[in-house]
């Protein structure tokens, strides 16, 4: 059924269609609307057979999800930014124990400086935690990915994060096709745990493992993620057969066939990039885009296949590995081992900085002409940066950087 609703609402309805049995969450922007809606659905009986547990922190949220999942319940939670950091230890435990929890990350920057807006720093901080990480381009894909996430998580007994851009998607009201319960039931069988705390057949979960077997347990976590590389496209195909649309998968090439320049990105910015690609194609420039849908596991072979014929690649990413540059770029470069092409990294949209078509046109034109630096910060205010550096050269007690920049730019409190 077609609906014009907020992204958060769409995800909440999709999660409800997956019939979770335990939802535990702690509010944090921009994730809050999702669990608010689920809390209400639980209360009104719209989501039967589900217990909504209010917890005192994100750490408790993930701990409760772990307990619920180990007891055989389909468990869901959502968080963002510092919330994800606060639950970090439990996040690693969930994947280490192999518990198929699904969690929405409403992607948001990490402080300091405190910032509620979108970038991918939070998910990236957990990129090696052992969870599967899927990235949504639109609200339609966000809701579809949640349905696929439960199927995938429960099939291989690993937790899955569905990452969607905070505010840009979570707070956008757009058209979505909401599936029926019958469709979801046909795609997602009842949860059949591979391990469960059952008094009738007692087991313990969470053994201490010493040097004699730790490597093997960790290797098996890796092997399971590699299995997911096969299952993700398989489930996406099955999803298409039931729901009638392409959603998810490992990668999505857009006009890459004959492209000399290919832009690689994740999340909602792909829409803007595709618009720019169309406009540049209209000018006769052979450019394409490659959307990474599954960041963990990272589809090295598919990325290589999509990119290896190009002359250059621009990895546009909403995160920064301070001290080296790109994060997604490193994985893309790994996929391109022994392939000779120019690879550029562009850091963009940190802390909610809008990524505009105008700036992308300039960036891609520079890349296409091979006049781009290896590492670019899109729309960086170089003068503001220089002023701070100069002040630090001149004055020993130069003061806090964030406050100084705001003062230099004349920003007091909120800006439009």
């Amino acid at each position: 059924m077609l609906k014009q609703i907020e992204g958060s609402r769409a995800v909440a309805e999709a999660v409800a269609l997956c019939r979770p049995e335990v939802i535990c969450a702690y509010p944090i922007s921009p994730q809050t609307h999702i669990v608010e809606a689920l809390g209400e659905m639980t209360r009104t009986g719209e989501l039967p057979g589900c217990e909504f547990i209010n917890v005192e922190s994100e750490f408790a949220a993930m701990s409760v999800a772990i307990g619920a999942s180990a007891a055989g319940a389909r468990a869901y939670t959502a968080t963002a930014s510092q919330g994800l950091l606060f639950m970090a230890e439990a996040v690693f435990n969930a994947s280490g124990l192999g518990l198929p929890i699904v969690m929405t990350i409403a992607n948001r920057a990490i402080g300091a400086p405190i910032n509620i807006w979108n970038d991918h720093s939070d998910s990236m901080s957990m990129r090696d935690c052992g969870w599967i990480q899927l990235f949504a381009e639109t609200n339609q894909e966000a809701l579809d990915l949640h349905i696929q996430a439960f199927r995938l998580a429960e099939e291989i007994s690993l937790p899955v994060m569905v990452c969607m851009d905070g505010f840009i998607l979570t707070h956008a009201v757009e058209r979505v096709d909401m599936p029926t319960l019958e469709q979801v039931v046909a795609f997602l069988p009842p949860y059949e745990p591979r391990q469960v705390l059952d008094p009738a057949e007692p087991v313990s979960i969470g053994a201490m493992v010493g040097p004699e077997a730790f490597m093997e347990v960790r290797y098996l976590a890796h092997a399971k993620q590699l299995q997911a590389l096969g299952l993700i496209p398989e489930f996406a195909a099955e999803f298409k057969a039931i729901f009638g649309r392409d959603s998810g998968g490992l990668v999505r090439p857009y006009r890459c066939g004959d492209a000399d320049t290919i832009v690689v990105a994740m999340g909602s910015v792909l829409g803007t990039i595709e618009d720019v690609v169309d406009e540049m194609r209209g000018e006769g420039i052979r450019i394409g885009a490659l959307g990474i849908k599954s960041f963990r596991p990272f589809p090295l072979a598919e990325v290589r296949t999509a990119l290896q014929q190009a002359k250059r690649v621009v990895v546009l990413e909403k995160s920064l590995a301070v001290g080296i540059g790109g994060i997604l770029s490193m994985d893309v470069r790994m996929a391109l081992s022994h392939v000779s092409l120019n690879c550029y990294t562009a850091i963009a949209g940190l802390g909610g900085r809008p990524i505009t078509k105008t700036s992308l046109h300039r960036l891609f034109a520079d890349a296409h002409a091979d006049r781009l630096g290896r590492l670019t910060f899109l729309d960086l205010d170089g003068k503001a940066v220089d002023r701070v550096l100069e002040r630090e050269r001149q004055t020993r007690r130069s003061g806090p950087i964030a406050e100084n920049i705001l003062r230099d730019l004349g920003i007091v409190g909120a800006r439009l």
């Binding site: 077609l2 014009q4 907020e6 921009p30 509620i116 807006w117 505010f167 840009i168 707070h171 956008a172 009201v173 757009e174 058209r175 909602s268 910015v269 792909l270 829409g271 803007t272 595709e274 618009d275 909610g352 809008p354 990524i355 505009t356 078509k357 409190g413 909120a414 800006r415 439009l416």
Partner: protein
């Protein structure tokens, strides 16, 4: 693609206005994308929301820098915020005010613009009269439907019914209808002038 930018203050229903506009357009079978600018979430602070309407899927995610229509829910922002940034000469401009563009000190600014695309609506008064709260968003949307002809009033009314509980919806619909008529009358006056 048609792009709308709505300015107001926290508590005036700016974000809801963009959402209602998107729902109304959706009801007419069009694609629409509404999103707020997520500034500080405080009552009274300047807030901006956007809505795009198109006949095909909207992929673009940047804020609206060059709006085809500008809706100003609070005229006190005129002296605080660069409301007209990127507004092209052909844009529709709708301001919540009992005063005219001249009286608002905008006479010079609008000189040369198409007067049939400029309108002020006493939306707060209409909201107080019908809804009992200073929420000018719905009357302004109805005014927008009237001045732009982009949407039918019926679609705006259907969106209001979808968004609000029955009692609040009905009072908002009365405010919307009166605003729509007021703008249509002003436009008719403009045609005869």
């Amino acid at each position: 693609m048609f792009q709308v930018r709505i300015h107001g203050r926290g508590g005036q229903g700016v974000v809801s206005a963009a959402e209602l506009l998107a729902v109304a357009a959706f009801r007419e079978g069009r694609h629409a994308q509404a999103f707020p600018s997520f500034g500080s979430e405080r009552t009274g602070a300047p807030v901006v929301a956007f809505c795009r309407i198109d006949d095909r899927e909207i992929r673009l995610r940047e804020p609206v820098a060059r709006p085809d229509a500008l809706i100003i829910q609070d005229s006190t922002l005129l002296h605080q915020v660069d409301l007209f940034s990127g507004v092209p000469p052909a844009a529709y401009i709708l301001i919540n005010s009992t005063r005219s563009f001249d009286e608002l000190g905008l006479g010079e600014f609008v000189m040369g613009l198409d007067p049939r695309r400029l309108c002020t609506v006493s939306a707060t008064d209409l909201a107080m009269k019908h809804v009992g709260r200073a929420v000018p968003n719905v009357p302004l949307l109805a005014g927008f439907a009237a001045i732009s002809g982009l949407l039918h009033l019926e679609s705006v009314i259907a969106a209001i019914r979808e968004k609000f509980p029955a009692r609040i919806a009905e009072s908002n619909i009365l405010a919307a209808a009166e605003a729509y008529d007021a703008v249509m009358k002003k436009l008719a006056g403009e045609l005869h002038a």
